[in-house]
Amino acid sequence: MREARWIALVLVMSGCGLGITDSPSGGADNLPTSGAGPYGKPELDFDTPADEPFVVEDAGGNLYDPAVLHRDGGGFRFWMGRQPDNVFDQSEIWRAEIPAVTELPDVPPTPAMLPDQSWEVGRVAAPAVIEDGGRLVMYYEGGAPDAPSIGRAESSDGGVTWQKEAGNPLLADAAEPTAVHIDGQWYLYVTRPGQVGIFRATSADGLSFDLDPTPVIAPRPDLPEAFDPVAVSDPFVIAGRTEAGQLHWGIFFNGIDASGDAAIGYAGSFDGVAWERFGGADPVLTDGSPAEYGPTAVLEPSRGFLFYQQIGQQRQRIGVALHP
């Protein structure tokens, strides 16, 4: 009798295959991506508080050239140049935080670093912020727009306050810095006033830089259908060891075509010197007019966030595009 009960139990177990389920097909979660692109802007969603694709804006001025890092516990931290309305030769660096790209800032734009050194000539802009140990390091552009230099500052309170380097400026005749610190070496990628291309500078201590005289990324005039036959600018570099142990470099930048239209492209490299464009002649974000500038990216193993500045409602605002 006891065995009959066991047999009945086994039969019930065997028959449980008749239970029908209707879950969606799996196997495509968290797929890896290099984050190169392509990127697309999120559509305006009336069910979210954000004004997609814009994530940060300021009612009193233009926000531009953002630097973005993840925030502990979720969300993003921004540092960006901020110009008051109708003022073109002055700029401050402000900060903001958002809990998600579909949410309004929970730390609204507020000043983080002001131009208070003589070489800055009332203008600090284009911050590049990296996490380095327990501190944040910022390289930024200062000085008159036609004679910019690069300065450095550090923050030990998560980017709320910044202490500028006494030896500033570190690099003259350079603008739009982007930085990485890897394998004990510091790398800056900059543009230079009056010169075409993106240049690389290296340093062992992050303070004293040697600038390569030739650009590592140049326009492609021989490829007229390319997005960047005339000029390249606004670099944002990212580098790291892959799962395979390879040192991999990626750079987002603006390309300008013969019509003066700008688009954001991407190039990759294994040494930071020889770069290959992603997508051939095409940019990774092309949304038309008005153009997007000042790209910066936050990459995760299976997705990427590309932040940029774009004019909207008469002001430069910070927007986002997503991949995949």
Binding site: E3, A4, S14, S25, G27, D29, T242, E243, E276
Partner: protein, 441 residues
Amino acid sequence: MRAATLATALLLALSAPAAANPVDLFGFGARGPAMGTAQTAAAQDGGANYYNPAILATFPDIRIDVGYQYAQPTMQIDGQSVGDDASRGMAVSLNVPGRLGSVRVAFGGALLIPDEHISRVRTLNSQQPRFQMYDNRPQRLFLAANLAAEITDRLFVGGGIAYMSSTNGGVYLVGRIGFPDAEDSNLDVAMDVDLKTVRYGQAGLLFRLNDWIDLGLSYRSQFKVTLSQDFIVNGNVGPANGMPVVENGYLGLSSKAEDLFQPMQVTFGADAQLTPRLSMAFDATFLRWSKFTNPAAHINLDLDIGDFNALVDIPPAPPLPDPHFSDTLSPRIGFEYLAYTSKKRDVTARAGYIYEPTPVPEQFGETNFIDSDKHTLSLGGGVTLRGFSAVFRKPLDIDAYVAYTMLEARTTEKLSPVDPVGDYRATGHVLAAGVQTRWRF
């Protein structure tokens, strides 16, 4: 002579062409998977319909197996799960012995009915990373019918066919396409979908070398499912009342994909009764993975808009990259130990091991077929009950197993610095279990 004629006829009937299936991955029933699926010479249950149909001719009685199988792959890339679906379903098999003249024969059939997908075919582009062996492969029906015969008292042959379906379909729109207002279109829609039966063959031999060693040989033919889909629009382009801008315009989009590939397989197996209580089974399977074709869809676009053709340049579809899989040889070993026996019941313990080398080469280019060498350890047991019921006078078997497959970690290093996927590290494991009852009549 009659036996030889019958055997020849039976083998000739198997020349049909051949999908990887959940049975290929996880085995059939509960006894076989418990023994590392080394069953080509050792099957004693309805699993013979898959492992070696010749063994069906050795069964003296009608047997019905009813069971349930479950396998959950957990595959990870860079430490994150890709969320593979479980493969689970009811496994049923039937074996009916009989005689054709003086020849002892048996008819058998096996069916694995998945809970969720009778068949899942999804064509992904070659660049999209996927665990090739655990994406579509475990998600399909297995249905096989077999015939076996005893040639001599030492030699048995068997074979049969397994079934699947391929899909041909299309959507056809005929009429007028509104221009400049597309919403003004007037189109008749016709749809045509064919699910065509695809058969693939399997065959086997069993040779009783002596009282304690059986040798087996099995063959399963190659198989893949073809999916053809067409989308055709035919008609004038223009306003409802007026001259058409394009007369007899044509847009044809055809997609063709091949999926659910099953390699041709030849397995040699041996089963040795080492002691009255202990038996050992061994299989070595050759799998012809080198014939694997890229499962991505090949899409062709054809457009005829008359005088405007010169304005449109549709480049030909690029060829799909060759996956360059390699043939593999997979050894399997299993043990069965009669732990307890009495007048009323036997208790048996089983264990097994499988090594499956990966056929997938390094993915340094644009494709991302992910796989690595696999090791499977299995454990199981069975109870045979005798005289447990006045209705069922013959013994009843209840088997169960659990198996763990570990995929070796494999790192992919890309040659291009602008590879859209980049480098990654893949690993994974599979937990499988099943239970089966075998009824004799």
